[in-house]
């Protein structure tokens, strides 16, 4: 009798534990987006996580995400940025240009450098034309850039 009660209690506890986890997973992107929205600078780790959420609809640890993005050709094989280093516009632009196969900048097709990746993103209206590849990105800017990327992924529309 005691064993039966114990089993029922354990099963219920496990179910409640997992339902809580599922719920928190569901709220992951809302909490993440609102968590970075007011940041003046975002990190490489945050950008990689956001990028995975947008493009793959899932996200793992930083190392897993990087491995996945290297495999997909979005990041270089020699990528060695730490997840806490601040994100500059060039790296993000290069990731976007590779993923979306941007053709907005002829120079980027010839010279696939960060500088021209930024210009390609500007040509596609993903970034604005008053920035350079070394500029840091705020949380609000990252959200806006990623919104642009998701619209292009969703609609297939490129300007």
């Amino acid at each position: 009798m005691v064993t039966k009660k114990f089993i029922i209690f354990t099963v219920t506890a496990v179910m409640l534990f997992f339902s809580g986890n599922l719920f928190s997973q569901e709220m992951n992107s809302v909490e993440f987006i609102n968590g970075i929205a007011d940041k003046e600078e975002v990190t490489v780790g945050e950008a990689v996580k956001f990028f995975m959420m947008i493009t793959e609809n899932r996200s793992g640890s930083f190392d897993e995400n990087v491995r996945q993005l290297i495999k997909a050709g979005v990041l270089d094989n020699g990528f060695d940025e730490s997840q806490n280093s601040t994100l500059d516009r060039g790296l993000l632009a290069e990731m976007i240009a590779e993923k979306l196969n941007l053709k907005g900048s002829l120079l980027y097709l010839i010279l696939p450098f960060e500088r021209y990746a930024v210009k390609a993103c500007i040509a596609e209206n993903i970034m604005v034309d008053r920035v350079g590849e070394w500029d840091l990105i705020s949380g609000g800017e990252l959200i806006e850039i990623m919104t642009g990327v998701s619209v292009i992924l969703e609609t297939g529309r490129q300007k």
């Binding site: 709220m27 992107s29 609102n34 929205a37 800017e141 850039i145 919104t147 998701s150």
Partner: protein, 248 residues
Amino acid sequence: MKKLFIMLTICAAFLFTYGIAHSAITVQSVKGEAAVKAGNQWNQLQPGQTLAEGSKISTGVNSTAVLKIDNATITIKPMTMMKIFKNNTAKRESAVGLKFGRLNAKVQKIGKLKTDFKISTPVATSSVRGTEQDASNGAMKGPEFIAIENELEIETATGQESSISGDQSFQQSPDEAKPDPLLSDMQDSAFQPLYDPNNIDEQPVQDFANSDLIGGGDTGVFNTIDNLITEPQEQETDTTVNINVIWP
């Protein structure tokens, strides 16, 4: 007994009138992650759920939510954060604040009734009367309003007004639309201590805080007022520069 009956009737009438004036804001549909903030926690929105004035709503990646506010239908696009400032059905006035992201608002016109639906961002507000509009706001590009149907009236934080129609859009860079420097006196007086409260003209700040633009001074949404007080705006001043050119 009679007294009690009268009191109950008055209470019921008051509650009924209040209910009509502030009719429920309901969630029509949800796709993916869409949440309402309660305290410091985000709770998933459910179809049919009612929301109160002051609710902050946010959507996640690849997620949308549709709200019914009075006679308006608001579609909240992915990665958006907004707040319902006002919903007064008696006056047919509703206002939402868009911190970041994209919205589509369809405001149904009911006969000759005057309706007013406002979407506010820190630098501009659009006012809709029986029409459809797309609104977006972001840190880089600033607010953009597109009049999909009929006419849209736009007012910027600096008081400029314009109207657009027929698929036209209005866009304002966040850099261009900073409100007039309210603390210019402080910058000129080098001998006054910085942020001396006696040296600040508080009335414009108070007016701005009470304006419809930020829906009665919400501190959490845009932080505009804090920025105005803590960060004196840079001013452009005319300066005479003498250049003497000596020909070799």
